[in-house]
């Protein structure tokens, strides 16, 4: 791999990709409004960290002013994909997508990072991936000790590629989908839904998956967890490896389309976004796949959104959960699928629960999916601001709707010595249904 690749080289590789990029990039008027909201720029303080800088780097490469270098690659990787810049932009420049395109160009020209290459190769092999993560669940306790009362664990020994002090979620000894039959039947179901578990819920946060199943059962809904479902591909897509993302997307689309569900639910903003926005985007120029993805996209809902907008849950069955809760909006919920009201409505409908809003509930927690793996120190700094915001609410716990956010919040609470828990919104609703039965 050479270190310097010129615009001419990429031009030869993919002319159409560049042509439509050039137009999109030209729309950035360099006003710098993105600086106000970029969590990475706030910590790093350099132009290359903010969207305006990243877009001009891409322009520079296209003009041939700078090479498509390792430093370009690094600059593109310093983005949590929180979409705050895009939401703020007065010119409507989709900066988050363009930065992904920048990563994509880097991957195309320079190849994928060797570690990512190995991980993605594993990810593309569903059976091997499943086997590895199940093994991690079985042998994990040898290396991880659990933090009391929480879904969180700390490494006993240093782990390669991970900060020693970092709190993670333990791998489940039995993944969620192995704990249940594929179809979970109820008497005279009012609808049939397919549950896309996502990797985090299947292999780590099985407690969230259990709550989703309990809550759907309470509402007399038949749930199927298709056994052949696989990672939605978001981490791969975000890294610029579009070809691999398409393989994963196509697999999931074909698996879910087979069942003809009334609805598809997911308990993660990013997974929902994948079904609803990314998949149709990935296959926009393949008519058969496009038709299929659009059909699925229309019936895909995030769990809180589904319960409030579609099911319209019967709130009289809910029992008291006496606790004070604040809510963190995951980026892909707030700015991806734009679902923020429904999780609040879920929380506010729980008797006894006191809801307090933090100052910036939709500011990124710093996790950025796999961003925190490669940029732990930076992601901690972003997270410390989030934790301070949570602390100032004096809430007993923080609720959210994304597994990686929950994990990063848990780590932040631990590092900042706050004895609070982080839970998925739906877990509190599950607790409320259980309390309702005891009434």
């Amino acid at each position: 791999m050479t270190d310097k690749i010129t615009a001419k080289d990429i031009n030869e590789q993919d002319k159409t990709l560049l042509a439509d990029l050039q137009d999109a990039l030209a729309n950035c008027m360099k006003c710098g409004n993105c600086m106000e909201v970029c969590p990475v720029y706030k910590e790093v303080g350099k132009e290359a960290a903010v969207a305006r800088g990243k877009l001009s780097l891409m322009e520079g490469v296209l003009k041939g002013a700078i090479p498509l270098s390792a430093a370009f690659d690094t600059a593109m990787s310093k983005c949590v994909s929180c979409k705050a810049c895009t939401a703020k932009c007065p010119c409507g420049v989709p900066a988050d997508e363009l930065i992904l395109r920048g990563r994509q160009a880097a991957v195309k020209a320079r190849g994928l990072h060797p570690i990512k290459k190995k991980v993605f190769a594993l990810l593309k092999n569903r059976q091997l991936f499943d086997f590895s993560l199940r093994m991690a669940g079985i042998f994990g306790p040898l290396n991880f000790k659990k933090l009391p009362g929480k879904m969180a664990s700390l490494a006993r020994f240093p782990m390669p590629g991970m900060d020693y002090k970092r709190v993670t979620a333990p791998f489940a000894s039995t993944p969620l989908r192995n704990q249940y039959p594929e179809v979970i039947k109820v008497d005279k179901p009012k609808m049939r839904v397919g549950f896309f578990t996502g990797c985090t819920i299947n292999y780590m946060y099985t407690d969230v998956g259990q709550s989703v199943l309990n809550v759907l059962k309470e509402n007399n809904i038949e749930v199927t967890m298709p056994s052949l479902q696989h990672c939605c591909g978001t981490p791969v897509y975000m890294s610029g490896d579009v070809d691999s993302a398409k393989i994963l997307a196509k697999h999931n689309i074909e698996v879910f389309d087979e069942y003809n569900f009334d609805y598809i639910v997911s308990a993660c903003g990013s997974c929902t976004e994948a079904f609803r926005i990314e998949f149709p985007h990935l296959f926009h120029d393949e008519p058969r796949m496009k038709e299929m993805t659009e059909r699925l996209a229309k019936k895909t809902y995030e769990i809180s959104e589904f319960l409030i907008d579609v099911v319209k849950i019967d709130k009289s069955k809910l029992g008291p959960v006496n606790t004070t809760v604040t809510l963190h909006d995951p980026c892909h919920m707030a700015r991806g699928i734009k679902v923020t009201k429904q999780p609040r409505e879920v929380l506010k409908s729980i008797p006894g629960l006191k809801f307090v809003e933090m100052k910036q509930p939709d500011r990124c927690c710093g996790s950025g999916g796999s961003f925190s793996l490669g940029n732990y120190e930076l992601s901690r700094k972003i997270n410390d601001k989030k934790i301070a915001d949570i602390a100032s609410t004096n809430a007993d716990l923080v609720a959210t709707s994304c597994g990686t956010c929950r994990m990063h919040l848990m780590d932040g609470l631990h590092q900042n010595k706050l004895d609070k828990n982080a839970l998925h919104v739906i877990q509190l609703l599950d607790q409320s249904y259980q309390a309702g039965h005891k009434k």
């Binding site: 008027m29 409004n33 303080g45 001009s56 002013a65």
Partner: protein
Amino acid sequence: MEKHHINALKEIVGEENVLTSAEDLYCYSYDATPGHSHMPDAVVSPANTMETSQILKLANDNCIPVYTRGSGTNLSAGCVPTKGGIVLLMTRLNKILEVDLENLVAVAEPGVIVADLNKEIATLGLIYPPDPGTVATATLGGTVAENAGGLRGLKYGVSKHYIMGLEVVLANGDIMNTGGKNVKDVSGYDMTKLFTGSEGTLCVITKIITKLVPAPEAKKAMMAIFKDLDNAGKAVSAIIAAKIIPATLEIMDNATIRTVEDYAKVGLPLDAQAVLLIEVDGNPIVVEKEAEKVMEALKANHADFVQIAKDDAERDKLWAARRAALPALAKLRPTTYVEDATVPRNKVPDFLRAVSSIAKANNVTIGTFGHAGDGNMHPTIVCDIRQPEEMKRVYKAMDEMFSAAIELGGTLSGEHGIGLGKLPWMEQQHGPVTMNAMKSIKRALDPNLILNPGKLVGEC
């Protein structure tokens, strides 16, 4: 710049605060002005006044150009490093040093974000009035250096009306203080005012003493739509003649109205020639009375439609159209020039008419909105900088537009500054004697011409 200069800079500020990679340099080759880009040799960010002084001494001794930069949001190419050299990034000097309630004064470093200063003093019932559109990202130092204004300019003025004193580093590295906390201070030349708005050509600002004012207790917003441009102009004059100074008095021309309506669907009639948005602020009782008088003035001058906001939600609705003006125009085409020509306020209708005929004659899209109360207009040209033939027409239209403003007794800039963008018309506005005097000041304070060379007064 030579390798040993870079090493010397690293010794002053530390290795991690000198950027030299092609990628980093490219990111400091521009500001928010279209069409200007040039690579510096190094980006250096000092931590304090002493380091700033050492950097300038080094640069001065070796005749290395220095371009001071905050957030780089300016619209005049003011911090584009046109001759290479050092981009002096001041964002690490970002502390609010003092809020003095007895003197109603704040002391802050130049890298403080203006909105952060306002957040800090809001709890004390105070405001720092200059509020440029980029208030949430722009640094205090940058806004002082550019003499930035904002929506409240009519009642509250621009930056220079709030700067009481400065600590600056001169070109040779000497540290100098001007002004202070004295409300009345007539001792010597007014160096504070000279440096405020000097656009990085005379000194580097390292500390700022600002005046703070009590926050208005109440606000009231009104909107009026006019099918006749002259009636809108007369309404503006009538409001001022009624001895009311609104905090804001905004206008949008027909081209902007059409674009906004197409984009935001706020309910503006497409044949309207002007929309006025007025906001009065202050004591609640006075605000009510003033709002009534403004409404009378609007009706007396044949406004075709008037509306007054009863509460905050209605106020937001009225503001929606004005807020959409720039985004709506900017989305039309890839390149957006937000110009800043200013005329005496009674000449606003004449200027709007001139701009619209210049746009038509040159086949260029220009929407004008701006601050009718203080005459500060923002003719916004949208185009595609990659189309050479179109750009020829754009530059011709710009030329005619600034000439028109000057002929109406106006000025090249009400709040954005001159930088490089408006340099071509400086002599036309000021004449050779004034230009010579300005250049003499530049040469006296910066004999080696290292500070933002070629900007504001041009080559010396």
